[in-house]
Symmetry: C2
Subunit: 803 residues, 2 copies
């Protein structure tokens, strides 16, 4: 790599656009399009007995109303079960529009198309749907009781039972010097991106093709789904993810009903059609995550080393399983974190409830797993009266043990083998950064009556899951470098990070690089943006593509300069003899030379070439059979995932009267391998911690017994403001991944993963009461105080509280 | 190749669409678009002193009027000189809209945009342009006299002087036993496709991209030109050639002014904009060809063997040279045809005139060269009193002399080496087909007073000129085979011929193959459709792409079937163990298996796969690093052109009173290497002969002295009807080209090439008067009769007339 741009804290190139209101989000497009609105179920569980649209027909500007009966062929088929798994014996998915039964509040029942959204909503209100209510199943306990069924044909409401096992955990626990048994729980939350979902479709009758803009995390898979359901070849469906205001997982599900229905109706009506989700719709008809109850049994020795761990997880996956059981798979495989556990067994029961579907949200099952493991470490430490950090240290995988095989299968079905890391150093740096060892003194020195607590947590995150991503790089005859990859962006800074990779690999100025993501017209094969995989997968694919382009450029330039390609280098977009800038040819000219049809390709550049290179434009310089154009395509397909890791620590203060919890300090030590851009990584960490703080202290989905979501608005669903998010102190560690050319690991989700565990640990430390359920509100904490006053088993042993 | 479909006379798949009015031609698109009309010069040569648009401004529905002054930056730059050549010392091109001087009637002066074409024409009529007339230069003689100049800075009106030479022709002629000297001329004609030019542009402000439909022969080069002139990256310009109603060369020129102006205005106005050329516009503002005067000196021996040939060609290239001097280059290099000539010299003087530009029209200079050579053969035969066919036979290159080097450089700058052929056999078959040897008796037996004549002509045509074309082939998960290539179609039957190639190479049913041409969204690199190159270039590229896909399919299928790929074959779209259809997997399933992201790619297919192949959908079957998808790209870049050949012969009857010429019989023996589809090749021959008959007997551009084209309509410009086109008897010869994998040669232009030579030969034979100028109308022939009555030198020696 020539130019030093890889690894630099380059400012995000997309921010100018975003901060000045020039982003092009879904709802900025298609201003003249027709609008869709949806009639959605007000019931958690009911049978539809009649739909009467007559009351809506006189709404002026109404164009069409569709119910399931109107959907032809595959358009009305059940949504796909995207990730089947042998353990998911009873996978169920819904219909694009409800057929006979609705199973959660917000399930779409009819689609209304009108000249604008106001009119569409007016008409939607006048569609009269008659429901016969059925008994709703709300919450894990109710689902497990199975007095009522969400799906008639799913006994016990059990969709899946999944077991992960290494060694004989039960025997190990029974034989261990110490054993503990306890229950943990974590509530539902959701991605709640700034921008909800949205779809805008244009049918081009001239061309027989469909252009669909979707606020999605996977444009290629949306394309495949639309093509399959509308009976079009892939090549006649273009899906573009424009600027997307956050995804965090909820936009990886595909196809959303609206992603099928809006394009279908746009083609049928031969009119542009758009639907933009509103906030209430997002709360009740997108997706949630997190909700689990975990029953833990752990056996350990005097040093706190875990000899056996048995976890029974009950997972609430809502009304349907379009995304399979990936979340409990991740929870149960990633739970072990940076630790060597003697024997391990996890049994996950995945349960249907009459609530919104559960699909990945940033962290995707990891926060729950880390919460379980780290709470367990704290319990062990409390039980033994040992320092919580020391107990963790006693269990850590050591740097010389990599690659480390956990003996399980990862979510991608491949062996769970950690590639690299230095967990003791992570822990050491986190202790140092937060001032772990001095905290007891600090607390002692604090004013009397102040309740301070410290907590910490470690995690390992499998990032960069396959199967592949690709990158395409083209240098045009104006010297612009066009980089494209199939996966999508939701604000992560891909335009910056991928440009840095390309600029460094090619030796061109950063400002010459233009990055396109999520546009099937530019790159047609992709998986999508999730699982912290963009940098690893597309970053490496782009690097590989750049290397091909660079090699071709040097070959063509060598021919033009009558030099040996091995003597050439590229500096600031100019190929030159190493150490001799006078014998040079700019890449823009090499681009002209790369197309045998030079004379017609770009007149100006052709003229420049003849001048620069001194031979007629009609003589083909490219070897016979070589492809024209200065471009290259690269695919990266990993043998297995890379494993990023980190340690978080926090100091909290709890108000003795109001039980308000304030985070005084928050420290993150983070290892995602080689850093492409430390500023972007820190931004990811900051955002992740902010979402983690929300999950730990504020965010929950307040369903009542009838399955109504009581807080389905930002008035009621609490997210942390900037005032609630602490300043985050960050330390980096770089253990390059040996698995990919750039040595990088993913960083997108890391920030959020251990936050609930860390805050729980710190609050427990501050209060001296066991914190088993998250999030924890002042009200929750107050209740806990009252209960602990009556029940000593809920109190943490005083001597073991800190350090 | 499995299925026997290559070489079969499969019916054209596009004809159903064309014959039932379901073609999508340019004017079928963009029904709601704004319309453009052009103010064009009524003068052949004038200075523009003022443009006053005020009279047009009150036309209702007027949107905009643009003159050259309004064109920013590169939009207003002179049009490119597409094919520079060292001999073209004074190349000149016009502006998209005339700047100061107009140099031919029809040159665009202003563009008017309005709500429809009627309104645009109304407004255009009211734009008042003040001209100061300049003396026009019309015709080759006037140009050569150079009393006036077309371009002030081009002395003598000479754009280029080009010399082709092998040996010392002058010395050879001087030393030869016999020598002749004479002048030949051929008039201007034009492509006159059924559909004129047309451009329809849509600017997508959301996307910052431009979609341009153009009735063009080269969508990629149009894209490059638009991108360069509008300052857009290539990736933001999509150019699609929809169904195109004939091109014949006139649509290979690029960019036409309208191809820059319409997209530019569409973007500026942010409105869809369309322009469809009308017939008069086509006559005066598209392009013509053919016009040449040839002064021949030839020396030969008693057997008629040509020892030296010296040709001075004066070529009329009209007002500008956007396409360079490719036509006289072709004339002077292809003139030698199938003959071995002792020494050869051609000197071409390319002259400017105040008439429409001259660019290639089907045959592209070859009809003139063949006319010259074949008329010369006839002259030699007459002079020696020998049989015309025998004289030709004496000069032919023999089958054992291939590859045969003519010692010149071809139009692509590479050595003029014929790859294969059997010219004596061609001649033998043509004599047989027309009944050459029995014709004297036939004539003698005819009723007294009937004037019958027989003529023949041979030609060699360099086809499949480079530098390259590419093909892309993709098998989708429904088993459809999508074939695309960058070059365009104008009705040649590419959808059929390319599908035959793909079906044969892949082993799939023909009906599963879908061919797309000329759409930059599907294939971004191409040269274009001209020079009879489509079958050779794209055909071979598609075959190469298919071979890659087939190989990949066998590899994946072998893995699925646990077989050796070498044991597999493909029949009717199913990969199977050779001789065992039960161990099989359909290609549609192989397509699913080829994408590691199987589960999301196509649900139905994924399910089918699991069933068919019996393993879970999430296990990636594709080798790491292999590209996903069952697709492949191939490029074919020839070392040099292939050389097709043929012999035509005709019997004509001339009315003694009215001088009307009737073609009684027409025979073609044609060799374009291996035949992909004999029916398509015969269709090409028939169409070519029809155009040749037009050129020989009817079509001419009747310019008056002031440069007005007097017959600029189909009322006045005579084209042959079906009644004038004879039934064509065809014989095929197949000498495969050793240069390309399919062994094919081009066939698109062949039919037209020798027709003027053959008809001239036959009329001369019937009348006994020298026919030196073509086309020949009854009036021309009548004049010739009168002149020959007074001038014996214009008469053909009686005894030498036939046989």
């Amino acid at each position: 790599m020539g130019t030093r741009v890889f690894g630099e804290p380059v400012r995000r190139r997309e921010d100018g656009r975003f901060l000045t209101g020039r982003g092009r989000f879904l709802d900025d497009l298609g201003r003249g399009a027709l609008a869709a609105a949806f009639v959605r179920s007000p019931h958690a569980h009911a049978r539809i007995t009649d739909i009467d649209v007559s009351g809506a027909l006189d709404v002026e500007g109404l164009v069409a109303i569709y119910t399931w009966e109107d959907l032809p062929g595959r358009v009305g088929d059940p949504l796909p079960l995207l990730i089947p798994h042998p353990a998911l014996t009873h996978g169920r998915t819904g219909y694009p529009l409800a057929r006979d039964v609705v199973r959660h509040v917000g399930e779409p029942v009819a689609m209304v198309v009108a000249h604008d959204r106001y009119l569409a909503e007016d008409a939607a209100e006048r569609v009269h749907v008659e429901y016969e209510p059925l008994p709703p199943v709300v919450g894990i306990e109710a689902a497990a009781r199975a007095e009522h069924l969400v799906h008639d044909d799913v006994p016990g409401n059990v969709g899946a039972v999944l077991v992960q096992e290494t060694g004989d955990a039960a025997a190990a626990i029974d034989a261990a010097p110490h054993a503990l048994e306890f229950r943990l729980s974590i509530e539902r939350s959701a991605s709640t991106p700034l921008e909800g979902r949205g779809v805008y479709a244009r049918w081009d009758a001239d061309d027989g093709s469909l252009r669909v803009y979707s606020s999605t995390q996977t444009s290629t898979s949306v394309r495949a789904a639309i093509a399959a359901r509308l009976g079009l070849p892939n090549g006649k469906v273009e899906v573009v993810a424009p600027d997307v205001g956050g995804g965090f997982g909820v936009k990886i599900v595909h196809p959303w009903p609206e992603e099928v229905l809006v394009p279908w109706a746009a083609r049928l009506l031969d009119r542009e059609l758009k639907w933009t989700e509103d906030r209430r719709e997002h709360f009740v008809s997108a997706a949630h995550e997190r909700g689990q109850v975990q029953d833990v049994r752990v056996g350990f020795d005097d040093a706190g080393r875990v000899l056996g761990l048995d976890v029974r997880i009950r997972h609430d996956h809502g009304a349907y399983t379009p995304y399979g059981i990936i979340i409990p798979i991740v929870t149960s495989t990633q739970l072990l974190g940076p630790y060597k556990i003697g024997a391990y067994r996890a049994e996950v029961t995945s349960l249907y409830t009459n609530t919104l579907i559960v699909t990945p949200y940033r962290g995707a099952g990891r926060p729950q797993g880390v919460y379980c493991m780290e709470r367990t470490m704290d319990r062990i430490a409390r039980h033994l009266g040992r320092d919580r950090a020391d107990v963790r240290a006693a269990n850590l995988i050591q740097p010389d043990e990599f690659p480390y095989d956990q003996g399980l299968l990862f979510q991608d079905g491949r062996p769970l083998i950690y590639d690299s890391g230095d967990y003791p150093e992570l822990l050491r740096k986190a202790r140092e950064l937060i001032g772990w060892d001095g905290f007891a003194a600090e607390r002692a020195a604090a004013s009397r009556g102040r309740r301070l607590g410290i907590g910490l947590g470690l995690y390992v995150e499998g990032t960069g899951v396959g199967p592949y991503e690709g990158g395409h790089v083209e240098i045009d005859t104006a010297g612009r470098v066009h980089v494209s990859t199939g996966l999508t962006s939701q604000g992560q800074g891909h335009e910056t990070a991928f440009a840095q990779i390309a600029a460094a690999e090619l030796g061109v100025p950063l400002e010459d690089v233009h990055v396109t993501t999520g546009d099937t017209r530019r790159f047609g094969y992709a998986v999508g943006t999730f699982a912290s995989r963009a940098a690893v997968m597309s970053g490496n694919a782009i690097a590989l593509a750049c290397r091909k382009v660079r090699e071709k450029a040097l070959r063509i330039a060598a021919d033009a300069l009558e030099a040996d390609p091995r003597d050439l280098d590229v500096t600031d977009g100019v190929v030159h003899v190493r150490g001799d800038m006078s014998a040079s040819v700019p890449l823009r000219t090499v681009a002209v030379l790369s197309n045998p049809l030079r004379y017609a390709f770009d007149e100006e550049a052709a003229a420049a070439t003849q001048f620069a290179v001194g031979r007629p434009a009609t003589e083909p310089p490219v070897a016979s059979g070589e492809e024209p154009g200065l471009e290259g395509r690269g695919y990266y397909s990993p043998v297995r995932s890379t494993f990023a890791s980190g340690a978080h620590a926090a100091i909290v203060e709890v108000d003795p009267d109001t039980a308000e919890i304030a985070i005084l300090r928050y420290a993150v030590v983070h290892d995602c391998g080689r850093l492409i851009n430390p500023m972007v990584v820190e931004g990811q960490i900051h955002g992740g911690v902010a979402q983690g703080v929300g999950g730990a202290l504020y965010e929950r989905m307040a369903y009542d017994e009838s399955g109504q979501l009581l807080n389905a608005s930002f008035m009621d669903f609490l997210m942390p403001y900037a005032t609630e998010v602490p300043r985050i102190e960050t330390g980096h560690l770089e253990t390059p991944s040996p698995l990919n050319p750039l040595g990088i690991k993913g960083a997108g989700e890391a920030g959020v993963i251990p936050v609930s565990a860390v805050i729980a640990s710190a609050v427990e430390d501050a209060e001296g009461v066991r914190v088993d359920a998250m999030p924890i509100s002042p009200d929750d904490l107050h209740t806990l105080r009252l209960r602990a006053a009556d029940d000593p088993s809920l109190r943490v042993r005083e001597g073991a509280r800190t350090g």
